[in-house]
């Protein structure tokens, strides 16, 4: 169920939003709700990937928070031109297959 909330936004931005919803004949509340949902989703992803890159989150922790599979995670790394959070030092410290 949708619940009401109040936020203060800059007057210029509000004018631009009003102009756009009029031009596109959209419902202002519906539009603002959609924009908020889209922005929230993207911001959440950005913050989680930042945490992953900093080594604060593991691949599967990010996947769990976004309800993604690790396969989707890898595709998203590519889309964002990011790399796995494995360091060169880890390569040097790795064991050999031969033991």
């Amino acid at each position: 169920m949708a619940k009401p909330t109040t936020i203060r936004i800059p007057e210029d931005l509000l004018k631009e939003i009003d102009k756009l919803v009029q031009e596109l004949q959209l419902d202002r509340s519906t539009y603002l709700r959609e924009v908020l949902m889209k922005g929230f989703s993207l911001d959440k992803q950005d913050r989680l990937f930042k945490g992953y890159a900093a080594g604060e989150l593991s691949m599967l922790e990010v996947c769990q928070k976004l309800s993604w599979s690790p396969w989707e995670f890898l595709s998203e790394l590519k889309a964002r031109n990011l790399h796995l959070n494995v360091e060169l030092e880890d390569w040097l410290d790795a064991a050999d297959l031969t033991g």
Binding site: G55, S58, L60, L74, L88, W91, D96, T98
Partner: protein
């Protein structure tokens, strides 16, 4: 060491560079059921061909599933279920390498003194062991950079190591 405990990241990258079956032929590969579910659930198998490959290897028991016991230990950092189960299993079974391509799991493995390996290192070692050709190894490392999202530094180091192994082999063959 002949036993590898793999987490989701290692299973995915090994399948993406077409080396999972080679590893399964050479080593006893064990994964917790949480890892199997993370990468090869029914839903994922229908979407990703590599997930289907992993599920197939599990069904043929070329990848064995085993869960760690109930004993818990305190990790220095938080991990997801499959990553933690893999580390616990590696500790319990002993004589095993923990295969992961996850920086946070590597940090936990180092803290617990569990030997670990990353996929680019496995590629170089497979070539060293003469289980794959130089061309295959080179292609796999390229895939680990492009699809596997390994950093250019690690890819460069891997190629360098591969060349050193190749040159070493050539040198050895020249020796009487």
């Amino acid at each position: 060491m002949e036993r590898i405990i793999a987490d989701s990241s290692a299973l995915i990258l090994l399948s993406k560079c077409s080396l999972l079956e080679v590893i399964c032929d050479l080593f006893e590969v064990v994964v917790p059921t949480s890892v199997a579910n993370e990468v090869a659930s029914d839903d994922l198998v229908s979407k990703y061909p590599d997930a289907a490959l992993i599920a197939n290897l599990i069904s043929k028991e070329l990848i064995r599933t085993q869960n760690p016991g109930t004993a818990r230990f305190q990790l220095p950092l938080s991990l997801h279920r499959g990553e933690e189960d893999g580390l616990r299993l590696a500790l319990e079974l002993g004589n095993a390498i923990f295969a992961t391509d996850n920086g946070k799991a590597i940090r936990a493995a180092k803290f617990l003194n569990i030997p670990f390996i990353i996929t680019p290192k496995m590629v170089v070692d497979l070539f060293r062991l003469e289980r794959i050709t130089f061309v295959n190894a080179r292609q796999s490392i390229e895939k680990l950079g492009k699809i596997g999202r390994y950093s250019p530094e690690i890819i460069a180091e891997s190629v360098l190591s591969l060349m050193e192994v190749k040159n070493g082999k050539a040198h050895n063959h020249k020796d009487p």
